[in-house]
Symmetry: C2
Subunit: 501 residues, 2 copies
């Protein structure tokens, strides 16, 4: 009998753990055709128009009469926008008080925030200062930093936007929030902002809007004022050199786990994401919330279709309504841009067995665990609530993580089924494989194997605790695999909203 997974007794589908041959006995029926691993088999006959249920939830509708044992996928399952009656706070499950107060070794900053790393950042306002910023950062290799062992590095945050855009509106505001978020990030001991001078995203406006003042560990410069690339680079290097001894004076001290802010992320999802890695990460998020720490779910298009489950978890109606507001904004945003909210499963997702955005959404939302939703934020907005929270962002990994880090996340936990070589700075990324084959194939990139939930019968709770323990150790300075490989210099991608002009 071929191995399958049923997620709820009321489901009419099961998921193939291994490829099922045509004619094989599986899911209490006989496979009518080959079912690839991770794909769905109909456990009974499903009439045209009937809902397809997984996680006890509707993931789509039968596009035709489907006999038992059929392969269920895009060819015979259709997506429909449905009207849902939203409920607020009707499913509040506060975390269990923890047995002990956990802690990690963090950098406590003057303003009370707590970092997990100690970088100096070169933040750019526009692509026109990208090369200047890279050159400044490149001047600080292992040799130049040898005398400053407490400094984790000098990083350039370089991007493709910052001009040819409106000087107000959501796109402009989102970019300014990203810059501000990186400027005040607790993983940054010092910040040098570098611009061109005539860009739309003016550094001076940012300083004014956010009341930022220059000081020994916060400096700004524009190429046009400094009169050229070479001199900008030279002056920038001098400014960073002056910051190094001050940054090096920072020391790790014991800090409660309540000071941790973890970005919850997935990318290159497969059919196992929602069955292994995401529920395990959700359990880790529950443990963190119990400590008073913060988990930040994001990727609004990826929870589309599951938002009614999240509003039931909202601590109050205002918080739930903010989430619905984001959903409505996205429907308008994609319509304006001649897309639709069903665009999301990528070719890789579909190959892995995910059929509709609703199916993917339920699996993606599993990363957020079960505790109350205590805050909903715009992209890159400072996250101030504790416990489980949500931030608006695209699903696209680098753009989403950039917003989460700008919001104050000091760690990233990233689940992947198809495989990803993602890494991030200044907050390091922990990568969780959804299946054992991937973990073994990309062993140099994956930190944790949630595939053992299927291959070795490890429980979701055990795996969740393993992830949570890694939060504490990586927050204390242990290197994740992507961090040890030095990733994170090219993955800073502020979400670009609106027209490029």
């Amino acid at each position: 009998m071929s191995r399958t997974v049923r997620l709820d007794p009321s489901d009419n589908v099961e998921t193939a753990v291994e490829a099922i041959a045509a004619g094989a006995i599986a899911a209490g029926t006989t496979a009518r055709e080959p079912i690839p691993a991770g794909h769905k088999i109909a456990t009974r006959a499903i009439a045209r128009g009937e809902p397809i249920r997984k996680y006890a939830q509707i993931i789509g509708y039968a596009a035709e009469d489907i006999p038992a044992g059929s392969h269920l996928h895009t060819h015979n399952v259709e997506f429909r926008n449905t009207d849902v009656a939203y409920e607020f706070g009707t499913d509040l499950r506060p975390p269990k008080p923890p047995a002990r107060q956990d802690s990690f070794m963090g950098y406590r900053r003057e303003n009370g925030s707590v970092g997990t790393r100690n970088y100096i950042a070169i933040v750019t306002s526009v692509n026109c200062s990208a090369t200047a910023a890279r050159r400044i950062a490149d001047a600080f290799g292992p040799e130049e930093l040898a005398a400053y062992p407490n400094v984790d590095g000098v990083v350039a945050f370089v991007h493709g936007t910052g001009c040819g855009m409106g000087g107000d509106g959501e796109g402009f505001e989102a970019l300014q929030r990203v810059m501000w978020g990186y400027a005040r990030h607790p993983n940054h001991a010092g910040v040098l902002m570098v611009g061109l001078g005539c860009e739309m995203n003016q550094i001076d406006w940012l300083l004014e809007a956010y009341g930022l003042k220059q000081g020994p560990l916060f400096q700004t410069m524009n190429i046009q004022n400094v009169a050229g690339l070479r001199r900008t680079v030279e002056m920038g290097i001098e400014k960073v050199k002056a910051m190094l001894p001050l940054a090096n004076a920072a020391r790790r001290t014991p800090c409660p786990a309540s000071e941790l802010k973890v970005a919850l992320q997935c990318g290159g999802s497969d059919a196992w994401s929602g069955i292994t890695a995401n529920p395990a990460l959700g359990y880790a998020c529950d443990l963190l919330a119990a400590q008073g720490g913060t988990g930040v779910l994001a990727e609004t298009p990826e929870i589309y279709g599951a938002e009614h489950l999240l509003t039931r978890r909202a601590r109050d109606e205002a918080t739930g309504q903010r989430l619905i507001g984001l959903i409505r904004w996205w429907e308008d945003y994609t319509a304006r841009n001649r897309g639709s909210m069903d665009n999301n499963p990528s070719p890789g997702n579909k190959k892995g067995g995910l059929t509709t955005i609703l199916e993917k959404s339920l699996g993606a939302a599993a990363k957020g665990g079960t505790t109350p939703l205590n805050g909903v934020y715009r992209y890159a907005e400072p996250v101030t609530a504790r416990g489980f929270t949500f931030m608006d962002s695209p699903g696209y990994d680098p753009a989403s993580v950039t917003g989460q880090i700008a919001g104050g996340c000091t760690l990233v936990c990233f689940t992947t089924g198809r495989g990803s070589a993602f890494g991030s700075k200044p907050a390091p990324t922990i990568k969780v494989a959804t299946n054992t084959a991937l973990f073994e194939r990309m062993s140099e990139d994956m930190d944790i194997n949630a595939g053992s939930i299927l291959s070795e019968g490890v429980s979701v709770e055990e795996k969740g605790r393993e992830i949570y323990e890694m939060f504490l150790s990586v927050a204390s300075g242990a290197q994740s695999k992507s961090e040890a490989q030095g990733l994170g210099d090219y993955e800073f991608v502020p979400w670009q909203i609106g027209a490029v002009m």
Copy 2:
């Protein structure tokens, strides 16, 4: 008497060459208030609602009654969308046949195209392979390339997009055209494409759509297939090593100037752009067109308001209608994104004295000279016509130049008034300063001083010939200033159209 410039006898404004004090005699009147250099003074009283004329063209309307000698700027000049009756081919001025056939030393490729440089390119499909691509390129420094003196370098083209996007439509198609344009660029001797594997912008789809075949000098790889970052980088380095001896076999040979394709670009414009550097570049474009070479104007929002002058130069109605089609698309694009076509003058532009998009448009279009408009192209589309052509793009420098290079431009000529540290690969950028003060201040970044048209009375034609001669020498291998500084590794920015999901 303060120095001013009048551009046409019918104008009612002049432009201050130096700052004019209140009460000073200037432009045949008395300045009522201080006029900054580059800003406009009213040469006579202008009634509310009356047109403001510069270049004999309407650049805006008086928002109030304006006495002679007033400072004319955003506070008293307003922008209006106007209906224009388009004419086609009514202003055809073919270039004068040249006295001699000019030539340069270029790389003639097997398919007949001619390059000005000889690079090996690492082209990425998605941000998820950015670090892998950088690591591969970084392995080829001066030491590793010493044995291959004819190879100009190994360059990674890395960007922030490629997934979280629709799998069809204009945004997807534009990105695939960019990739295809870089893959077949005549300045590339060899190309390695690197992807993740599950991204929306699939390398395999691209190969299929464009009929590309792998070979010794064209290779592709995906991180997910190769099983991790380190192995991808190692394998990529091996692939590039195998290309080096083949790429090094290329030799420069004499090629006619008709094989040159020059991207015409401006960024950080000031009030001098349209008076010095742009008309001089326009004259260089006329000289190039006379040789049968190609100039590619772009930056559609920046010629908005001057499109009726370009349609008169269109070689036929179909060509002119394509331009109008682009204009209509932009009106819709900006409206959908809650912007307007008057967003364009940046804070820097306004500080420099440019009041409306119409004024800027006339100055920007001057880069295209006076010869017939022989072709109109979509963003990143292969430019096949000779002479003066137009390509749709945003004004934003890196996004616009990326499209021009994808379209086949092998040189870029970039005018700037406020100053820019822009540079590009694989096509090098020549930078032209619009004013002498900028040229002197950023002497290490500027190749040519068009400010001498004002400060030393050099003619536009003399300056245009100087620019044209530099086209030929840089095309033959002489380094421009930005090229000598190594710029171009971080300025590859495919235009992102549509929603990021």
